[in-house]
């Protein structure tokens, strides 16, 4: 059994216009030590997915259905007190903005010691020693000095290293990283990503990496989910999806990257923009932007408009697309005809 199992997760936001479905029917799992990427554009629901794992979605959001099982424990129905034992301890989070986690009026050392003592019965001296060791692990120069510094005295890259040290403090099983390097410069970003990857491998920590950057996902993760308008539309091994995406949206996303086009030529753009969650199109949420749904020998494919596509397996991947399903059916028929 997987370490973390998410099944048919539904998350809604109760707004005055009515409920907005931020996540629908999201299923995925994570094995011990596995690195999973969640990719999508803004509004796809990738951050909501991460936050809902630890029930950290702010009001008016709520989990409307589905289950989240972590190491045999069902998380959805837990009280805040019970959740706190999991949160930060066995599953920890890294946010985009380090200042969301760091308290500006406490020194780095105080924050780390406090965090350790909240979860373990240890003396301050022991806690400080552990903190120091963690800071060494994230390769911060002169870690002894950093313990007594305040967050504002450190640079952005340094802060993000400290956040990683804090995330590792209690030897968690899973780290959820929400756009951990988006606010950083390219060179710093590359270093932080390399560090995170190295630490996860060394300590066999699972990683859920939420990002919009396909390059980062392809370098760091083993498996990935592609999300669109609150749904998972494709999932599977990262290399397979990057090299041979099945879903038209994933294809479009990868082909739109400047590195996929000849310099100076037109980029392959996806038309239109991500629908707002309160006005989702019927059927497949991607159909208004999808070439396959509207332009197939002139006729419109009505199935894409009316029916939400179910997952079909394609290699090691799962894809929610009518086109992929139909092509597989056609192949199957062909094979059967050849056999008979």
């Amino acid at each position: 059994m997987a370490l973390l199992d998410v099944n048919h997760l539904d998350v809604r936001f109760a707004l005055r216009q009515g409920d907005v479905k931020a996540l629908r029917d999201v299923c995925f799992s994570l094995d011990r030590g596995e690195r999973l990427g969640i990719v999508g554009e803004s509004g796809a629901g990738k951050s909501v997915a991460a936050f809902s794992l630890l029930n950290l979605i702010a009001k008016p959001g709520y989990i409307a259905g589905g289950s989240i099982t972590f190491d045999g424990l069902e998380l959805t129905g837990l009280s805040d007190r019970q959740l706190r034992k999991v949160r930060g301890h066995r599953i920890s989070m890294i946010f985009q903005d380090p200042m969301m986690t760091l308290n500006p009026v406490l020194s780095i050392g105080e924050q780390m010691v406090e965090c350790l003592k909240a979860h373990r019965r240890i003396s301050s001296r022991e806690a400080r020693a552990i903190s120091l060791r963690k800071l060494e692990q994230v390769q911060i120069p002169s870690p002894e000095k950093r313990l007594d510094q305040y967050p504002h005295e450190l640079s952005g890259g340094m802060r993000q290293r400290i956040i990683i040290a804090i995330a590792l403090l209690l030897d968690p099983d899973i780290i959820i990283a929400d756009e951990p390097t988006t606010a950083l410069d390219v060179t710093i970003q590359a270093e932080i990503m390399a560090l995170l990857l190295e630490l996860c491998e060394k300590h066999n920590v699972g990683l859920i990496l939420i990002t919009h950057d396909l390059g980062v996902v392809s370098q760091v993760t083993q498996r990935m989910l592609v999300m669109y308008a609150g749904r998972v539309i494709e999932q599977g091994p990262t290399r397979e999806i990057i090299n041979d995406p099945q879903h038209p949206y994933t294809q479009g996303l990868i082909n739109a990257l400047p590195q996929m086009a000849t310099p100076g030529e037109r980029l392959n753009q996806i038309r239109g923009s991500m629908p707002s969650l309160s006005q989702l199109p019927s059927g497949c949420p991607f159909h208004p932007r999808c070439d396959f749904a509207t332009r197939q020998d002139g006729s419109e494919r009505s199935r894409c408009k009316t029916e939400v596509p179910a997952f079909v397996s394609s290699g090691n991947c799962q894809v929610a697309c009518h086109m992929v399903a139909e092509m597989q059916d056609a192949e199957r028929i062909e094979v059967r005809e050849e056999n008979s």
Binding site: L15, R16, S273, P275, S276, Q279
Partner: protein, 313 residues
């Protein structure tokens, strides 16, 4: 945030779908406050038609009917619903007229404050540097003179130059001037702060890159985006101006007794509290409290609605 395929919405439709109206419909306190406020303003505006007597008309005053109690107390004259004051003026009429004076001064003074404060705040915030430093020091100096000091100096000067009779004629406008002059720094500071926030946004840079003049950028681009805090502070300032006027009048630096405002009514009745005619002071006092309270409650509601941090629907 997506575009709707429907036809462009009109101003009324936008208002109908706005968060402003939505939150108003859900807020009973705001509704009651607005109702009370509207009733009071209407009553004050329509005073010449609503009031049973004209307190400015000496011919209608009967000195023999002075200090009559309101209707629920023994010895009341049904002709005078709220009783009469020491000069025999009908309290109800005097209060209606007095409220009118108070409201005119309140709104007039705030209009003046706003005009001065918005201009100075825009200039200070947009131009920055020495202009900013100069105007803000000026604001500091202005704030260190209390309204009372300004009133004493201006009132004394005016009386000395033009005499007491002229003073009575122009007292109302003089008070507008005094309170308007004394409290513009509040506006200037609020406007300056929001101008500084708006100035750093890219649409202002875009306007500069276009080649627009500073004046147009300030008034056409920045000012409309600072209206929310201006509205909020205006409600508070109207309430403050009414209180300031009442305080000045109570001290004898405001409206003369012949054209009483709520403040001078309270003052004129104050001497008679000891002799048992409490209503002369208490009823206008109560009206003043209610008026200021509903304005402040409306201001609180408006602040909650317009606060961009809370406004996320």
């Amino acid at each position: 945030m997506s575009t709707h395929s429907t036809a462009t919405s009109t101003r009324w439709e936008r208002f109908r779908d706005s968060y402003l109206l939505y939150s108003f419909k859900r807020d009973v306190i705001a509704q009651v406050s607005l109702l009370v406020f509207v009733v009071m303003v209407l009553a004050a505006l329509l005073a010449p038609w609503l009031a049973p007597a004209n307190p400015y008309d000496l011919a209608q005053i009967d000195i023999l009917a002075s200090e009559l109690p309101p209707f629920w107390i023994d010895g009341a004259d049904p002709q005078y619903l709220m009783g009469t004051d020491s000069q025999g003026r009908d309290m109800l009429s005097t209060i209606l007229y007095g409220m009118r004076v108070s409201l005119v001064i309140g709104f007039g003074a705030v209009a003046l404050q706003a005009a001065l404060g918005v201009c100075f705040g825009l200039l200070a915030g947009y131009l920055g540097g020495r202009v900013d430093a100069f105007l803000m020091r000026l604001a500091d100096i202005q704030l260190s003179f209390s309204t009372l000091m300004v009133a004493i100096v201006v009132g004394a000067l005016f009386k000395a130059i033009f005499g007491g009779a002229t003073y009575s004629d122009y007292a109302m406008w003089l008070l507008v001037l005094i309170i308007g002059l004394a409290e513009w720094p509040q506006y200037a500071r609020t406007v300056r702060a929001s101008v500084l926030a708006e100035k750093s946004k890219e649409y202002v840079d875009a306007a500069r890159v276009m080649g627009l003049r500073s004046r147009r950028i300030m008034f056409r681009h920045i000012l409309p985006n600072t209206l929310s805090p201006i509205f909020v502070i205006s409600t508070v300032q109207v309430a403050n101006a009414i209180i300031s006027e009442a305080a000045l009048s109570f001290l004898g630096l405001g409206m003369p007794e012949t054209q009483p405002s709520l403040g001078s009514l309270i003052k004129s009745g104050f001497d008679y509290i000891q002799s048992g005619s409490w209503w002369i002071t208490l009823i206008p006092g109560l009206v003043l409290v209610v008026l200021v309270l509903v304005i402040n409650l409306l201001g609180d509601w408006l602040r909650d609605v317009l606060n961009p941090r809370l406004y996320k629907g």
